[in-house]
């Protein structure tokens, strides 16, 4: 059975076998100019207002030509100013640093030199293929034979559709033990009106682990509209209505990693709760670099239980129970800042990533989930709390081949009544302290989840506050085994560029209140560093696959742990 599953997995993964090499062909270039370009060239050349010349053309510095210029068979040398477009047909073009072309520079059958220092206000288009033409007085006529089709690359340019709509079928989040695979199904509409854009999504959320028998919670919905005003930067407003199953903490492992661990190995590293409500938001954006939003939501939170979601391996093993979270009706006011100056999102060498969120919640706690410490709310279980969350990462290149990266994550209760279980935090798992096993009942006080003793079912995050610091040193790694340079033989070899990584993590969670209680500190106190969990580790990171080993330092008796990541640790 296992072998069949492995074979199935491999059949999905292994890509088509290498094919035979391209047949040798000795001819180099074809003189085929795209038909649309040929037509454009002829039209521009023959326009009566275009200044035409045949043969060498030179425009000295300080001289100005008004309007468009077309040169046949060149060469073209420009040091002066052309207020329109320059067309060079079957001619090379040389631009002096003083050259100024206010319009486009269109060259067919030639090359361009000096364009990086000269000023060209419009587009520079260079076609190496020559135009085949015949002269008809001062006009030219493109030869009909031998002209190619349209400019093929335009089919591959990013689409900037002014408007559009489609039916979307898309995953709505990570594969998990509560929903299986959540799938969005519904229309998506988008309109770009130049100085902004509008978008409307209206999905029903289907869940593969749904029984379709037990009523209202099986099918969710997600309706969202957003209006952005401004190009590059501007303001945004949005509104949404939703009935979703949401993760309690999503900041540790990525959705891809969480979903694959659940779908393949029946290990779910997140906990989930039902989130239904409406939200409005307004904010500012600066491209992909920064977003600041203020939002107001009216939500109903409810506990969800784990289902017997299908997995590739360990199909008969029990899922870890999904903790029983609070049932609550809350109004939420959030201020959220996201700043991203990283040189590359997937593989950053330098820059900042900041996610900061402040939340004020108020409402009614209808039913409380089990927790280690009893929670007390005012009469009628009216609740009002303030909570903050901060994730700051700094990427530093310290040499051509090495970097030193830092991350600080902190957050939790800031004031008011105790936090609902849905807003508690932990520093447990491979994304936080990988030297320690995830959600394993430990004797005594567990400062990673703030659980004392056996803990509630599912071992939920219960900390009022957390602090986690991560530091890693990365250095490039080049592996070349059995790779004989210059050898034309096809020899299987290991050839991978990556990085070797050294890292250290320190973190813990704690409760806020009566300092005589376990793991509890006064509101202005940060626990002594000696009480933090720490680990140290090393690994090989090949961008899409990282193999690491981590050893606990604060609990030296615990064994080292091996783990796999599908992206950088942070």
């Amino acid at each position: 059975m296992l072998m069949r599953r492995l074979a199935l997995a491999l059949a999905l993964v292994v890509l088509p076998a290498a094919a035979a090499a391209q047949g040798a062909d000795t001819t180099l270039d074809r003189d085929v100019l795209p038909r649309d370009v040929a037509q454009e060239v002829v039209r521009l050349y023959n326009t009566p207002s275009t200044a035409r010349t045949v043969g060498a053309f030179a425009l000295p510095a300080g001289r100005v030509v008004s309007g468009d210029v077309a040169v046949l068979e060149g060469p073209v040398t420009i040091a002066g100013h052309v207020s329109g477009t320059v067309l060079a047909v079957n001619a090379d073009v040389s631009l002096a640093p003083s050259a100024r072309i206010d319009g486009d520079l269109l060259v067919v059958g030639g090359t361009v030199r000096g364009q990086s220092l000269a000023y060209v206000g419009g587009e520079i288009r260079i076609y190496r293929d020559r135009l085949r033409y015949t002269r008809d007085g001062e006009r030219i006529v493109a030869d009909s034979a031998g002209q190619g089709g349209e400019s093929w690359w335009r089919r591959f340019e990013p689409r900037r559709t002014a408007s559009g709509s489609k039916i979307q079928v898309a995953s709505a989040g990570a594969y998990n033990r509560v929903e299986g695979l959540p799938v969005n199904l519904g229309p998506q509409m988008y309109r770009d009106f130049g100085d902004g854009s509008a978008r409307l999504d209206a999905y029903v959320v289907l869940r593969t682990a749904s029984s379709f028998r037990d009523g209202a919670n099986d099918v969710g919905h997600n309706l969202r509209g957003e209006l952005r005003l401004g190009n590059g930067r501007g303001v945004l407003v949005g509104a949404s209505a939703y009935d979703l199953v949401s993760p309690v903490e999503s900041w540790q492992l990525s959705t891809l990693e969480t979903g694959l661990a659940a779908g393949l190995f029946r290990r779910d590293y997140r906990d989930y709760f039902g989130q239904r409500g409406e939200r409005v938001e307004a904010g500012l954006f600066d491209g992909q670099r920064a977003t600041f939003t203020l939002s107001y939501a009216d939500e109903h939170w409810s506990p969800r239980r784990a289902r017997n979601a299908w997995t590739l391996f360990r199909p008969n093993a029990p899922w870890r129970a999904n903790p029983v979270f609070d049932d609550a009706h809350l109004r939420l006011l959030n201020a959220t800042l996201r700043l991203d100056t990283r040189s590359d999102v997937d593989n950053p060498w330098a820059g900042w990533y900041v996610l900061a969120d402040l939340e004020h919640g108020s409402g009614r706690m209808d039913a409380l989930g089990p927790s280690t410490e009893p929670r007390a709310y005012p009469a009628g279980r009216a609740a009002r709390y303030d909570r903050g969350f901060l994730d700051v990462r700094r990427y530093n290149r310290i040499s051509r081949h090495a970097q030193l990266n830092l991350r600080l994550v902190t957050g939790g209760w800031l004031g008011g009544d105790p936090l609902p279980l849905e807003r508690r935090l932990s520093v447990d798992g491979y994304g936080a302290l990988p030297g320690f096993e995830f959600r394993t009942p430990r004797g005594g006080d567990d400062v990673a989840t703030c659980t004392a003793g056996a803990g509630p079912p599912g071992y939920p995050a219960q900390c009022d506050r957390i602090a986690l610091a991560q530091v890693e040193y990365r250095s490039e790694l080049h592996v070349r085994l059995f790779d004989w340079a210059g050898d034309d033989w096809v020899i299987p070899h290991l050839n991978a560029d990556g990085a070797w990584v050294l890292f250290m993590d320190a973190g813990r969670g704690w409760m806020v209140g009566d300092s005589s209680a376990p793991m509890t500190y006064s509101r202005g106190v940060i626990p002594d560093f000696a009480t933090f969990r720490t680990d140290i580790g090393a690994g090989l990171d090949f961008d899409v696959l990282g193999l690491y080993v981590a050893k606990p330092l604060s609990n030296g008796g615990l064994p080292a742990r091996l783990f796999v990541r599908l992206q950088h640790r942070f």
Partner: protein, 217 residues
Amino acid sequence: MRALWRVVLLVLAAAAPLWAQRDPAVRVDLVRAAGQPDVPAVSVSHALDDPQLQELMRNGFAVALHFRLELWRTGGVFNDLESATQWDVKVQYNLDPYGKAYNIVRHHGNQIEDFGAIRSLDSTEALLARPYRVLLPPRHPHAKYYYNVVLEVEALNANDLSELQRWLHGDLQPAVRGKTNPLSALKNGVGRLLSRMLGGTKRSYEATSPTFVADGG
């Protein structure tokens, strides 16, 4: 722990074909023109050696080579990214029976350069291996600098440019359009997702230039 070893073996077995080829080698060199300061010249060799890429091209995909050239300044505790520029080279295999050839075009800022149709793979790779000079001058005289170039190689489908990104968001739209049945779409999507994990559809390469001192003002 046994499950962990299983996934490691699975990944290694699946990745083996990807290692049985010669990878692209991108490099950035400093070249000096007469009377001019050093300028970076970027080249890539074996850009299309991958049999998998060639197979994709014969099936209508284009190959996109996305270059990002960065200028880094040294001297402090950390290196500073002073400026950057990026450009794309797209290569498509033309299946026209009367004109099988590789079409190449380069987009850089406001410049589009169409190299026309080239009949052989060797000539295509030779063209890509020609150094491309880029103007990205240092701003601080006498400071120490180096260039870093990042190359991402990706196969693009003209009918569905953002297919990969859409799948990574879980989109199975081709099935909805009736072109594929949902199970095939799901299987292909899972395969694509896993191949993405293994770097099968988009791969990244980096190189740095020697360190140099910027000319005086």
